[in-house]
Amino acid sequence: MVTAAQVWEALAEIPDPEIPVVSLVDLGVIRDVEVHAENVRIEFTPTFLGCPALEVMRDAMEASVRSLGAEPNVQIVLDDSWSTDKITAAGRDKLREAGFAPPTPRAATNLLQLNGAIFRCPYCGSTDTRLENLFGPTPCRSLRYCTSCKQPFEQFKTI
């Protein structure tokens, strides 16, 4: 019989479809895993409601649970329980290595000051960076530019 720990381990192998350097577990979008005999119930919170990767992630989780010989039941939770604060420390390091500035903590973020907030360039570490566009290639990303190393980079939006 499958255990919750085995399910978590398997889910940690599923890459985010749009930022594949981080896994679904790194992103903190798996809220809960419950195992009842052969049934595995997963509570999953989308990053953004309009995220086009939602179905891809759900299908990947279902396939992963089936490969463990169990029956998946993925519940998509549509509330405010996920925030970018749930991204794990390991997830943040992976984002940085891939050229993404991790999100600032939710509590410390005054969005109206976003233009003035300090964001460190993931390439050279300089804080001499500016917002290029609040919006980016996916709903969860903004575009910034490092005036020090002249490198554009992506900023994970704080949610």
Partner: protein, 210 residues
């Protein structure tokens, strides 16, 4: 929470998302192309989640509500139904709608229904970025006569987004005098045209899944 109230908001978000996406590929700058495309995607995501809640109550599906109703059954506000306008009007609508939506979401976040309140809180987080974008543009254009004309022209439509009791708050926030609102019941011809386009694929193969 009753389904008709959810449908009003869901229809607004779906139709506005559709209209915002009309800028994809042709906005005045690449940044705005990305911005309006991303905002459109968020709004349609919100519509989907709201339709799902309403669908549970009615006993149908989100897609069924989004695409299988007759155009006369949509409850969207005329403000969001206007087809792509010039940039001044686009920004005026964006600013007025996002300001109204913030008022509406604040009420929804206090709903007794935990599913509705939870979803509203999630939507509100995402909408902060839309508001930031809308306010930035409003600051930028506020002294332009062409923008001021657009705001004046769309103002009665913007009031129609909110329930009568919430309208004075909107007037206060945007600094305009309340006027007679264009209500949701006054459906525009433009919605009919949009419906033809929006539901074309789904109508062409009834029952197909993707």
């Amino acid at each position: 929470m009753n389904a008709p109230a959810l449908l009003e908001i869901a229809d607004d978000e779906l139709i506005l998302g559709w209209r915002d996406s009309e800028w994809t590929g042709i906005a005045p700058s690449l940044e705005e192309d990305v911005a309006f495309s991303s905002i459109a995607q968020n709004e349609i995501g919100h519509a989907r989640a709201l339709y799902e809640l309403a669908a549970r109550e009615i006993g149908t599906t989100a897609d069924g509500l989004a695409f299988d109703r007759d155009p006369s059954e949509y409850r969207s506000a005329p403000l969001v139904e206007q087809r792509r306008m010039d940039w001044a009007h686009t920004i005026a609508r964006h600013y007025l709608y996002e300001t109204a939506d913030e008022i509406r979401l604040a009420v929804l976040k206090q709903a007794d229904d935990a599913d509705v309140a939870g979803l509203a809180a999630k939507m509100d987080r995402e909408e902060q970025y839309h508001r930031l974008h809308a306010r930035m543009w409003n600051e930028h254009l506020r002294d332009e006569p062409r923008y001021q004309d657009a705001i004046r022209e769309l103002w009665p439509l913007a009031l129609g987004v909110l329930a009568p009791g919430q309208r004075s708050e909107l007037a206060g926030r945007v600094g305009l005098e309340p006027v007679e609102a264009v209500e949701r019941e006054r459906q525009s011809d433009e919605l009919g045209e949009l419906w033809e386009e929006m539901t074309m694929v789904r109508r062409s193969v009834p029952g197909a899944t993707w």
